[in-house]
């Protein structure tokens, strides 16, 4: 019985770690958006303010998937861990 409890706890913490692998895609997406933003500022420096606000919005939207995994990881840690 005790073994089972510790098994569940360990597996939950492991699952929390694995859930955060979703940060991979998020990082790639955000880096891509930022790179394109820098590129377009280089091409058209007058529009840098507009580009910046659109880029920040896009980056924060791309963050969503990473945030979902973070929520799952936090729930696993605090409820099962």
């Amino acid at each position: 019985m005790e073994f089972n409890q510790f098994f569940v706890q360990g597996m939950a913490l492991l699952g929390a770690g694995i859930a955060m692998v979703a940060g991979l895609g998020q990082g790639i997406g955000q880096g891509f958006a930022a790179g394109k933003g820098a590129e377009s500022v280089g091409r058209n420096p007058e529009a840098s303010g507009k580009i910046q606000s659109i880029m920040v919005l896009g980056i924060a939207l791309a963050e969503t998937t990473g945030i979902y995994s973070l929520v799952i990881a936090i729930l696993l840690i605090f409820i099962k861990g």
């Binding site: 919005l57 945030i67 979902y68 929520v71 936090i74 605090f78």
Partner: protein, 235 residues
């Protein structure tokens, strides 16, 4: 969760226990109520031909801020929905910034976020039905073909969940990281006190930047979906 702390209110024999985040939220509501009441009284008295000063000027700038967030999406219908969006935007910005004075953010409690997202979602659906009629709204769900109806319904239901989780995750992660750094500083004292040079930057990023950006995104998305339904024919 481990970090939930409770506030106990005793009035005579009554004892009410509420979570700190909800208590902070109620306090913000009361403060906002008085602020808007007095600001409204003052604005009524001011002379519109002169340049605004003091509180009136602050209110004007707040109004411009809200217009900046929602005007691009709502277009002609902006003035109709601005009371709703204005109230929610100001409430949420203040709620996100309470982390700066050492209180728990109301937005790190999932019920606050879910309330806001559900309010927004109900408003979007209600206004869409009011504008286009129930039949047209239901017909829209079967487009482009009837087989996709379940997917369309899931897509509609995903909006409040994604709004809630995005805000909740961001703010909660920020507050947990700040809390961890403070715990580390306390555990490593006296050398740990050098860590206090780092914490202003954490607050800058997680409380100010992240909080304001998340508010902006929340209401940009909300007004985008509302604008799609409401100002469709003007396009």
């Amino acid at each position: 969760m481990s970090q939930v702390s409770e506030v106990v209110i005793r009035i005579g024999g009554f004892k009410i226990e509420i979570q700190q985040s909800i208590f902070v939220w109620l306090c913000i509501c009361v403060v906002a109520m008085f602020f808007f009441y007095f600001a409204g009284k003052k604005i009524e008295k001011t002379d519109p031909s002169k340049a605004p000063k003091g509180l009136v000027y602050v209110c004007e700038e707040l109004y411009n801020l809200i217009l900046y967030v929602v005007q691009g999406n709502l277009k002609e219908t902006t003035t109709r929905y601005i009371p709703m969006f204005g109230t929610l935007i100001l409430l949420m910005v203040v709620a996100n910034l309470t982390g700066l004075i050492g209180l728990q953010n109301p937005t790190s409690n999932v019920s606050f976020n879910a309330t806001l997202a559900l309010t927004l979602w109900l408003m979007i659906q209600g206004n869409a039905i009011k504008k286009n009629g129930l039949k047209a709204r239901l017909k829209e769900l079967t487009e482009p073909m009837w087989l996709l109806t379940p997917l369309n319904i899931i897509g509609e239901l995903a909006l409040p969940i994604s709004l809630t989780m995005r805000l909740f995750g961001n703010i909660l992660a920020g507050s947990i990281i700040t809390l961890l750094v403070y715990t580390l500083i306390k555990n490593l004292a006296p050398w740990g006190y050098f860590g206090l040079t780092l914490t202003p930057f954490l607050h800058m990023y997680f409380d100010i930047f992240s909080g304001v950006i998340q508010t902006y995104i929340f209401f940009t998305l909300g007004s985008f979906f509302l604008g799609q339904q409401v100002s469709k024919e003007e396009d």
